[in-house]
């Protein structure tokens, strides 16, 4: 929204500049088309006006063939009598039935979409503005508003241009361009020192060439001055323009006294030039005797005698107030727009606007009222020329009769003209107040937002009871339009400011750090409450690339996350750690795309949580170790058996070898076999010890891709003799070609071991013939499942979940750690474990482990168990 109003202001300024430079209507059209191409990137457009016969005719165009212009000439959705004309948008000409007859023309001209923008002056359509597109075009509101701004500026310029052209045509042809050749015929033969005898008329005796008629009938103010600068003669037009009764009030006075004191020097200089035989010119404002401020364009010329000696001066002053006002209005308008654009307070902008309008019409005062955002109360916008006790009457009032005409304007959205407050006003209270300060007429127009919402009213008060003339009505419209732009801009700025304030408040409230980075990883901005906690202070990293700031491996992690966030448009999360001076800190970053070329990285320090996790992991590790020690204690018999078997074989073989050595001849073959068997058995014993050591070791977890079947077989090897001893017949159904899982070998062995021991325990009271221990592995797209089922006593009702709680056991001699440890290990592997009773008998424990591929974040779960994997 702020961007939109800024763009609107930019267009207004551009069009104002372009139109302000020129008076010629063709230039106006051209400027408008330029602005269109420049601001809206529309290369094909045209301006059409109703001619006096009411036919719409091309005045200017870009990129249209003569065939096309001929084919559509005269087509118009509106007539000169149309009021309230709205833009007509045709996003796709093939879908617009009313234009079906023109379709072949459009096709030939490669026009797929077009827009009719009415040009309205004083409520009536005077012409239209056309935009043409080569492809179907979805029109945006803003686009249409901007074209509307250009169209109304052009309408204003057209009206002004027509007035100007009209007045130029009525000017006298030799007009006001004094030059040497013109001076000749104006020569005067004056008897030096002879006073003017007929003060009311021309000093006839002194004229050598009589141009009396010209002089007397000249529409400009024409004066003859003595060399001393005193007035000798003023023509009738001059007497009238200066607001004098007759020339007697003027003649004999020093001309310079008619000017403001600060301009005296300029006036004297012009007279000096004339005395020197050339023409002196200047433009200055001054008040008439009647007190009206007027702008004059003045030329002072010498009058010479027959001998060429300057004897008198002629001063021709033209009232250029109207022209000056137009220029002042242009400049004023421009100034108002610039004030809006530079974000000046609304009251100041409106005050300037009121002054600009008031300067345009003598005797008028203006007032801008604003409608509150709630739409029911009125605020004073600006009324610098009205007495405060009058203008204050409106401020804070509810919309209603106390607001007078302006209230009606705001309620109806229509202009209201009160020609005589004394007679017409239905608001007696307000009427008396207005009359008491000399206001006799009130003309008020609604101020609209760019979205046609009423924002307030702009009123002009006249000191005479009358209606506005055309020019004044147009001023009123323009003022309301400018006020609308100002209020729109102000409100959007206000909304932006509030939202920024809100954002700042939110930023203040959240502890997270925020970094804005360009797509290629350059830090653009940051919000950090405690910069001291950063790796480097903001002034060091702002403007630099991540690659220069972060450790290379971490920068790479971020770059990959950026890439994903950019392409998927979804938030990306990463966890990482950094080694600061005294400690390792852990962070979580959430990366989202913002704008098309930036990324927002929201970083949270999760060190506390992480440390707690690590502590918990350490505890879990301790418990897991304890669990393993207990398992081994329980299994000591089986383990002793596992060791004693190879040791027995070794000893027997060694002793057999000794006997073999005593024999003659030596059976070397037998001896070699014996020694080979010794080696084999020794290795077997070594393996058992190795596994024992593994289980007893308090090592950190090592993540690696594991074949669950292999891990299962290792567990079975270890428990083989125990199962045998305890008469636990075991069957396995291991799916071939299991995909690997990412895990720690010892920890997963421990899980399976616990489940096997648990199953055996559950069957200890069951007849050996009834027992069955079954291990199954199976995989799907996401997980590998290990199932251990028994035909034991099953799990009591309601304990399916609690079996995993620590110290919950149904065995007299167990600590109840096995299943709890198993669950924590499985969860650290991002897996899950569940228990269920079999339909017929016993229970099955299922453990699901995610596959190694596509589970990159297993490391996050495990990094509490594993040494931290993140860079830093």
């Amino acid at each position: 929204m702020p961007a939109a109003t800024n763009r609107q202001l930019a267009v207004r300024l551009a069009v104002g500049r372009a139109l302000g430079r020129t008076r010629d209507l063709d230039d106006v059209y051209s400027a408008a088309l330029d602005t269109l191409a420049e601001c809206l990137d529309v290369s094909r457009a045209s301006v059409l006006l109703f001619d006096p016969d009411g036919v719409m005719r091309f005045k200017a165009y870009r990129g249209l063939s003569s065939e096309y212009r001929a084919a559509v000439q005269g087509h118009s959705p509106w007539t000169p009598d149309s009021v309230d004309a709205e833009p007509l948008l045709v996003p796709d000409v093939t879908r617009e039935p009313s234009l079906a007859s023109y379709l072949p023309v459009f096709v030939r001209e490669r026009i797929a979409a077009l827009a009719f923008i009415p040009m309205v002056s004083l409520g009536h359509v005077i012409g239209k503005f056309m935009l043409y597109y080569a492809a179907p075009h979805a029109f945006e509101d803003e686009e249409v508003q901007l074209v509307g701004v250009i169209a109304s500026a052009v309408a204003f310029a057209v009206e002004r241009g027509r007035t100007h052209e009209g007045s130029r045509r009525s000017d006298s042809p030799h007009g006001f361009e004094p030059n040497a050749s013109v001076i000749g015929p104006w020569e005067w033969a004056v008897t030096p020192g002879a006073p003017a005898e007929h003060l009311g008329g021309l000093p006839s005796g002194t004229l050598r060439q009589v141009r009396q008629c010209d002089i007397e009938s000249d529409r400009d103010c024409l004066k003859i001055l003595g060399l001393d600068g005193r007035l000798l003669y003023v023509n009738p037009a001059g007497v009238a323009q200066l607001g004098a009764e007759d020339s007697r009030a003027l003649v004999g006075r020093r001309w310079v006294e008619f000017w403001q004191e600060k301009d005296h020097e300029v006036v004297e200089q012009a007279m000096a030039r004339a005395r020197a035989g050339t023409i002196g010119r200047f433009q200055r404002p001054t008040r008439t005797l009647a007190g009206v401020m007027k702008w004059w364009d003045v030329a002072v010329m010498p009058i010479v005698d027959a001998g060429g000696v300057v004897v008198q001066l002629k001063a021709v002053s033209r009232d250029v107030s109207a022209q000056w006002r137009t220029e002042a209005f242009q400049a004023g308008q421009h100034q108002v727009l610039e004030m809006i654009a530079t974000g000046a307070p609304l009251a100041q902008v409106l005050t300037l606007l009121v002054h600009v309008i008031e300067d345009q019409c003598e005797g008028m005062v203006c007032q801008a009222l604003l409608l509150d955002a709630d739409g029911s109360h009125v605020r004073l916008g600006a009324a610098p020329s009205l007495p405060e006790e009058f203008s204050r009457r409106f401020d804070g009032q509810p919309l209603g009769p106390r607001i007078g005409a302006c209230g009606t304007v705001m309620q109806t959205g229509r202009t209201v003209i009160v020609t005589d407050i004394g007679h017409d006003s239905p608001w007696p209270d307000l009427r008396d107040a207005a009359l008491s300060i000399g206001l006799r007429a009130c003309w008020s127009a609604p101020i609209f937002s760019s979205k046609k919402k009423v924002l307030g009213s702009f009123a002009m008060f006249s000191d005479t009871a009358r209606g506005p003339h055309r020019e004044e009505l147009r001023l009123l419209e323009t003022a309301a339009d400018l006020a609308g732009a100002a209020i729109d801009h102000h409100r959007s700025q206000e909304a932006l400011r509030q939202s920024e304030e809100r954002n700042r408040a939110i930023l203040r409230a959240i502890p997270d750090w925020m970094f804005v980075l360009s797509n290629d990883g350059v830090y653009l901005d940051c919000h950090v409450k405690n910069p001291g906690a950063l790796l480097v202070p903001p002034e060091v990293f702002l403007g630099k690339s991540m690659r220069d700031i972060l450790p290379p491996s971490l920068a790479e992690v971020f770059e990959r996350a950026f890439e994903r966030a950019r392409t998927t448009n979804e938030p990306e999360r990463i966890e990482y750690s950094l080694d600061l001076q005294h400690e390792r800190r852990f962070y979580e970053a959430c990366i989202v795309r913002c704008d098309s070329d930036k990324l927002l990285s929201i970083v949270r320090d999760i060190s506390d949580r992480k440390h707690a996790e690590l502590d918990a992991a350490a505890q879990r590790q301790e418990l897991a170790h304890l669990n393993r020690v207990l398992i081994l204690a329980e299994q000591s018999g089986a383990l002793a058996h596992e060791l004693s078997q190879p040791l027995a074989a070794i000893l027997a073989n060694a002793q057999a070898a000794r006997h073999l050595l005593d024999r003659t001849p030596l059976d070397l073959e037998e001896l070699r076999e014996t020694l080979d068997d010794v080696i084999k058995s020794d290795k077997r014993a070594g393996m058992v010890i190795h596994r024992l050591r593994e289980l007893l070791k308090k090592s950190s977890a090592v993540l690696q891709p594991l074949d669950v079947n292999e891990v299962t077989r290792e567990v079975l090897d270890l428990t083989h003799s125990d199962l045998l001893l305890r008469r636990m017949p075991i069957t396995t159904a291991l799916s071939p070609d299991l995909p690997p899982v990412l895990g720690d070998r010892v920890q997963l062995q421990q899980v399976i071991l616990n489940l096997v021991i648990n199953a055996c325990d559950a069957m200890s009271t069951v007849e050996p013939a009834e027992r069955e221990l079954k291990l199954t592995t199976v995989a799907d797209d996401e997980c590998v499942q290990i199932a251990v089922s028994d035909r034991g006593v099953g799990i009591p009702d309601g304990h399916l979940d609690s079996v995993f709680d620590p110290f919950v056991t149904h065995r007299p001699d167990g600590l109840g750690l096995g299943l709890a440890i198993s669950r924590s290990i499985v969860m650290a592997h991002r897996g899950r474990i569940q228990a269920e009773n079999n339909p017929d008998r016993g229970a099955t424990f299922r453990c699901f482990l995610p596959l190694a591929n596509g589970t990159a974040d297993v490391s996050i779960g495990m990094n509490s168990v594993v040494a931290m994997m993140s860079p830093g």
Partner: protein, 126 residues
């Protein structure tokens, strides 16, 4: 070598390495040796022997059960238990019922002493 000279010995052990090593040792000492991987195999293929060396821990029938079977069928073959672990404690008189038992790993001396004891006690009883 036992006092009784070369003996005819049968070994039941499910562990191939142990089986092979014992057979090798006892043969090197001059005895006749037959080996069986399980109690069931022994029962199926048994031939007359001076002494039966049985591992306590076996798949299927274990050492005790084999002994019971044999005794219930009236066999008086002298038996030596070998064991790789505690299992039922060797000192458990009820379980062992006087059957000499040696724990793995054992030396040839221990084994021969146990065999001698088994054979002689058998002789003494009967």
């Amino acid at each position: 070598m036992t006092d009784a000279g070369p003996l005819n010995l049968s070994i039941v052990d499910d562990d191939e390495a142990v089986r092979t090593a014992l057979r090798r040792l006892l043969r090197a000492m001059g005895h006749e040796v037959r080996v069986y991987a399980s109690a069931e195999e022994y029962e199926a293929r048994a031939t007359a022997a001076d002494c039966l060396i049985v591992d306590l821990r076996l798949p299927g029938l274990n050492g005790f059960e084999l002994r019971e079977r044999l005794q219930s069928r009236g066999s008086q073959i002298p038996i030596v238990f070998i064991t790789g672990d505690g299992g039922p404690s060797p000192s458990d008189a009820t379980a062992h019922a006087g059957t000499p038992t040696v724990a793995k790993p054992f030396s040839e001396g221990d084994l021969i002493a146990a065999i001698t004891r088994a054979v002689s006690s058998e002789t003494n009883i009967h």
